[in-house]
């Protein structure tokens, strides 16, 4: 792995870490969702930094990959997949909470209708609808 590509990987992962931190600072991303990003980006950074050691070459040979930079790309892709799965679970949770809200709302509307009916009946006014 050349120094050039290693530097690119390192700069890339640092850029991601800084972007995520800035987005959290500006409240565009909840801190708890940023944790996963930071763990993944840091892992990627560490792998990039140690890319020059023999470990990466060894790992590439084991997996049958020709060039060590390719291994890092693959690791990066796996991290992205893990992140996407994480987001799928967050979205699912949001769906369930949203559904509960909607159902509660339906019940609330029904209760208001009942209250309006009772109020109109007791005051003897015919409903306008």
């Amino acid at each position: 792995m050349t120094l050039k590509i290693q530097l690119i990987f390192i700069v890339f992962s640092i850029a991601i870490i800084c972007s995520i931190l800035e987005l959290v600072r500006r409240k565009k991303i909840r801190p708890r969702y940023s944790i996963f990003w930071l763990i993944n980006a840091t892992f990627f950074l560490v792998v990039s930094i140690f890319g020059k050691s023999g470990l990466l070459e060894l790992f590439s040979k084991l997996l049958g990959i020709y060039g060590p930079p390719n291994t890092i790309f693959i690791i990066g892709s796996c991290l992205v997949i893990v992140l996407l799965i994480h987001f799928s679970s967050i979205i699912s949770l949001l769906f369930f909470e949203n559904k509960k809200l909607i159902l509660k709302l339906s019940l609330l509307c029904w209760r208001i209708e009942q209250l309006e009916k009772e109020k109109n009946e007791s005051s003897g006014i015919k409903s306008a609808f």
Binding site: L21, V24, R25, R26, K27, K28, R30, P31, R32, S34, I35, E97, K100
Partner: protein, 243 residues
């Protein structure tokens, strides 16, 4: 203490059926000027029924939103009904209502916007945290000092008193997620006056803390992150809309 202004006493509860009646009685006797609002995180025990039996308002907030949700609901309630001041205490009996009259005057006299009732400015017999917690608390305190320039010892105290300016400001924020540390950071950056006064707290009067070890660690981590980010670049002093 005669009051011509409205005070809302927010009591946050989750499964506190053992002591909720005592807490409400304590609030009614020792701080009758406050309208009591119980904000319950969907308790699975008799907390809500016992509270309703004491003729106080009860607001139910989904458990998944936690203390943050409860507090934000209470603030929304206070804003909607035009309350001038909010007093917040926890439903586990750790916050004696008698201490409210020690925290309220600075806000009443408009010398402070937020008053924090602190466990750590003076030693209190009933509350002694463990070594690890003390270190964590001192760490938070030191970091918060670096980020805000203000010395606060009890950064996670739930015993708070604040005024309408704070109510309006917090209600106006778009991306706000309540936590004690976050609130101190934000209010400090926005120019509000924060005061910390010593009070004595009791031990939890029954029931269990909903904070597991894992959850506590998680919130500490999130809190540290907020403080570090607050250190990174000072948040712009804003009027209140954009953060």
């Amino acid at each position: 203490m005669s009051m011509d202004r409205k005070v809302l006493t927010i009591i946050l509860t989750y499964n506190e059926e053992k002591c909720i009646v005592e807490v409400i009685k304590d609030a009614k006797i020792n701080f009758p000027e406050g309208d009591i609002l119980i904000v319950d995180g969907e308790s699975t025990d008799g907390t809500v029924s016992r509270a309703k039996g004491m003729a106080v308002n009860v607001l139910t907030v989904p458990h998944s939103l936690g203390i943050a949700g409860g507090m934000e609901a209470g603030i929304m309630f206070a804003d909607y009904h035009g309350y001038d001041f909010v007093v917040r205490i926890d439903g586990d009996g750790q916050h004696p209502a008698g201490e409210i009259k020690n925290l309220l005057p600075p806000v009443l006299k408009n010398e402070a916007d937020l008053v924090i009732g602190s466990r750590f400015k003076q030693t209190s017999d009933d509350y002694t945290p463990t070594m690890v917690r003390s270190l964590g608390i001192r760490l938070f305190s030191q970091l918060l000092f670096l980020a805000t320039g203000q010395r606060i010892y009890d950064t996670t105290s739930g015993f708070l008193v604040f005024n309408k300016r704070v109510i309006k400001y917090l209600s106006s924020l778009r991306n706000f997620e309540y936590s004690e540390v976050e609130t101190i950071l934000i209010l400090n950056k926005a120019g509000f006056r924060i005061l910390e006064l010593p009070i004595s707290m009791r031990k939890r009067q029954g029931g269990q803390s909903s904070f597991t070890a894992g959850l506590a660690f998680f919130y500490v981590f999130i809190g540290l992150m907020s403080i570090f980010l607050g250190l990174m670049r000072p948040l712009e002093k804003t009027g209140g809309k954009e953060l």
